[in-house]
Amino acid sequence: MALPSLIFSRREKREISIEKTDVEIKETFNELFIPLSRNLYNFIFKSTNFSEDANDVFQETVMRALKYFKKFDRTKSFKPWIFTIANNEIKRHFKNKSFLYSDKNVDALCEKFHDEAERKLVKAIYIVAENLKPRDRQVFFLFYDNGFSITEISVMTGIKTGYIKVILSNARKAVRKLLEVRNEK
């Protein structure tokens, strides 16, 4: 006769614990995600060449992160984890679409800069980034925009460190070259 009461008490206990864990999961996710959300959006937006598709990719990234947050190892850093998800989402996005139409012009974006040198530099950087391959562009923004180290990027993207260095070096050279050309003009 003691069995039904035992089951009932267990069920009650279980419901309380579920409520707790669900709320806790949401809270911890929000705590970790909100400070990074703007950086993440910028990374996706820049990596997709200022495309409107960035909104969809951002949504998918957040939903995927929330779905797998239970499996996330809390001892590790959250930033590389969520940026890896974003990176994979962008990859998936480029797989489906061979060409991405840029909705914003780099010239228009750089109009807000009053300093001529700064404007030239930013313009050159974003023109170079626009002409990079999708994968290289992601590496470029992960390194320069989000401050990840080369080894971290290697772990996140699965590209060898040597090749990452080559990508960054080529991008740097391209920026320099573009600036030189513009200065000569």
């Binding site: 279980r14 579920i18 951002f58 930013v122 974003y126 320069y144």
Partner: protein, 115 residues
């Protein structure tokens, strides 16, 4: 004149262009999260997988099945007495040192006769 730009210059240049998350994207994401919670299966939602009883349920079930299979095997062991061959005739040719055994098997079939 050569441009002596380094990594820090590029970093500053990249970071100087920042965008805010559009409000419609934020609201869309929030709506999606709420929608996801509502559409989640009620049964699965209310199961606490952290509970040790539920966590180890598959292991318990496997153990239980192994015990059941061990105690009540599906295939019964064949009757050994039936399988043993039956010696019908046994005789010896002593001068040639030959022993002849005529054995009848339980599963013996006269196939030639059937044709």
């Amino acid at each position: 004149m050569k441009n002596r730009i380094n990594d820090n210059d590029i970093k500053l240049g990249v970071k100087s262009l920042n965008f805010d998350i559009p409000s419609d994207v934020v609201s869309k994401v929030n709506n999606l999260i709420v929608e996801r919670e509502q559409t989640r299966n009620y049964f699965w939602k209310h199961i606490n997988f952290a509970n040790p009883f539920i966590k180890w349920a598959p292991a318990y079930l496997t153990l239980f099945l192994v015990l059941i299979m061990g105690t009540f095997p599906l295939k019964k062991d064949p009757d050994l007495s039936k399988l043993t061959t039956e010696i019908k005739i046994e005789y010896e040719l002593k001068d040639k040192n030959i022993k002849i055994l005529w054995v009848k098997k339980q599963n013996f079939l006269l196939r030639r006769l059937k044709k």
